[in-house]
Amino acid sequence: MSFNAWMLTIILFWPLLASLVILLLPSEQEQQIKNFAIWSSLLPLLLTSYLLWDYGINHLLAAGFAYSVNILWIPQINVHFHIGVDGLGLVMVFLTTLLTTLSLWYSKGVIHKRVKEYFFLFLFMEMGMLGVFLSLDLVLFYLFWEVGLVPMYLLIGIWGGKNRLYASIKFFLYTLTGSVAMLLAFIALYLKSGTFDIVELSKLHPFQGDIVLGSIVFFGIFLGFTIKLPAWPFHTWLPDAHTEAPTAGSVMLAGVMLKLGAFGYLRILLPILPQAFIKWSMLVVALGVISIVYGAFVCIAQDDLKRLIAYSSVSHMGYVLLGIGAAVASMRPGAIVANANSAAIALNGAALQMFNHGIITGGLFFLVGIIYERAHTRDLGVFGGLSGKTPYYYGLFLVTALASLGLPGLAGFWAEFFVFRGAFDIVRIWAIVGVLGVILTAAYILWRIVQSVFLGQFDEERWGNKLTDVEPYEKVTMWPLVIIMVIVGLYPTIVVNFLNQTSINILSKLP
């Protein structure tokens, strides 16, 4: 086996190793712990970058998974330690490692309480999330899915805001409810087919032809992923969790954890249960569109900046759902699709939106954290006129916010464009309703945020010199994200190249 084959294993378990080392360090040496965590998080990021390069050269058009490792783990029930990536998985791994490093870097400046536990949990959580993106076995997938949950629960509960106790347990219970339903469905898949292997199951399509049982299993898994995503009406844990979590926690929640749900759709639900998915594809489309519009409306009504951005995630993840749903809906019997590529385009849009949303909303949460550290409030009503006081901050915020609303030339635009371009051909009415969301997004970004925070009158009396401009370490946190937003905005192919083959693979293997 070549050296590259072990790369994913190293990427996956390095954070675990680092977190265990942190556990052994004395808790008084806070600086050492912080530095160690940041440095050690760089290795997975660098290795992932190398793999991106290597994948781009050698595997870009591969039909299967690259860098696979497959070791028998629990022979009694045929469970394997099977990991591997395709283009989508690799992009998600990159997103995870990048946001982890940036989060740790940012946390170095703002976390002063129980430092050792914090950095331990953060690295441990990284392993959980990476594991989900890498797993090619359902039991392994479930294991990492749950393992990542616990550190996040603790991060919210220990370092969160005022309402953290409620938010943390709500987050855990919601997600757990979804995941246990998913677990039963996984077992059902095994009992039907005798394997937990995702690659095998994607070929076997268990429950093909048995639409009743197939649908029950589908909804078990669907519940798990849709709560995590989250789509309306399962989204109510999200505003609480995102608002109460510490800044870096919100970044990881919005940036990576929500993607786990969307990723599950593409890795498990669609390839393994296509028939049931096609049957219920309009439901997925509807939930996507409702999430887009509902989320955007709720955003407009928010007074808390962080809560607003949290709800914007509901809206933006709705695009992902719409893209996936539309792609599947194109295969309904009797569906009339003018352009044969529409499904792949919608799917590409959904996948690209996963990456973009991670980068953009991650950035937004950092920016909210930056102002909260100074003002100790996020009430939209008390700010105003910050554009003159903190021009650098204004600049960073404006770019990120405009990317979020889908301004052409920045990353967000392309994903929305692809999704609607694909969906318009397949589910026209829904796509038209969905476009409404884009307009509403412009409303809450420009009117609620930019106008009330950055324009208008600055309250000199209240703020004095408290609202200083961004510090160097905050610039370092934000710049990589801004650069990616611009690059992907100008040249989306750089990401879409990785995603396109995955979309084609998924669609071509459906029966």
Binding site: L165, L173, I187
Partner: protein
Amino acid sequence: MITLDKLYLLSPEFILLIAAFLVLGIDIFGKRRWQKALPYWTIAGLLLSMVASFWLMGHKETVTDTMAADSFAYYFQLIGEMVVVLVTLALVDYLPGRTHQQGEFYALLLFAAIAIMVAVSATDLIMVYLGMEFLSITSYVLVGFLRNDKRANEAAIKYFLYGAVASAVMLYGMSLLYGLTGTTNLAAIAQKLTAGNLVSGYQWLLFPALLFLTVGFGYKSSLVPFHQWAPDVYDGAPTPVSAFLATASKGVGFALLIRVFVTALPAVKIDWVALLYALSVLTMTVGNFVALRQTSVKRMLAYSSVAQAGYIVIGLVAFNGKVPFTAFNGVSGVLFYLLAYAFTNAGAFIVVGAIEEHTGSTQMDDYNGLVKRSPFLAGVFLILLLSLAGVPATGGFMGKFMVFGAALAEQFYILALIAIINSVVAVGYYFKVIKAMFFVPGEGPAIAVAKPTRYALVITLAMTLLLGIFPSWFLHIATTSGLAMVGL
């Protein structure tokens, strides 16, 4: 026919018997220096006996037709011995200052271990009864051993009264079974029942017999509605003894439930499956919902262990009897679950005991900010609670996975659904403790944990994680042990 050449198959029991008398002897006649080492003599005996039990695994014989020497028995013996080792380690720091009769305590513990070993090997109703009574009587004494502790006394008398009634009912059930079949041997009973060779006109007594037997076994494994003693006894008993009762002693209930029902009563499988189905639903639901309301961690763990019993029964309900076993067969699930649960729950009680040792309290509020006062205890308890809640990478998850999988495999969809909903409800109370330990600030001096207790906790922690991450070897042992019992 008595054949003495097979007695070596009982060597684990004999080793412990010698160890028990040795401990008693040292306590009375030994030098002071030796007396101090009593717990270590106890542990040495247990370890030796464990080696013997492990060595003898794979045998498939009976001794004098009343004791089975099969992997199934040895498997449960190993669980029992292991738990007693952990309990003994926890007692080293717990007993001094509470009682002067330490030697007797350790000796009693060893006798209780022997009782477990006899009970789980029994293949004859008389032997089953003797083993159960032997275990019960030693347990009553252990619970009430600290005679100046009013709550322990109350617990002991409650345990005794419930136990007396339950074993009387069970004995009545056995007598009915004997009356119907004319034998007390489990295999012979099975033969008679399958052949339909019963005293005519009284076949209907079979179901009452089954019901009464279930009362006895259900009492030991704290199935609702035979559980009422459990919360009070677990709460009132010395905490290490609670650990023993909630794991090893409960395991005996399950071992007998499995052995008697599967080997003696396959003819009425449909009856006991229905009965256990109902008991399982009741047990997990009542256990979980009552646990939600508790303010004492120890009492909460007591109800949680009632609820866990409900999950374990699912495995037996879903046992399909096919040989060789299918991947998700209920019995190896139950055996694995009990192993994982023994380590996890024993560890949890030991943590509670260690905290009680220093704060004198088991109230949830006194766990506030525990992570500051003892990061070790808080960290270990976190993992153990996650295991009890069934979060992956722990033994508790693998146990649930195997058992729920068995339920689905046998198409008990509703039961699996109820179990899954219950395990979400359970998170509500397990995480209350995590919340107190990690989220809520609290003041108090640092808690120092005695070395032996520390060792016990490290073992439980390591085993909980090992069973969750590398379960295959243990699953293999559980499966072969289950097979040995079915094949007998």
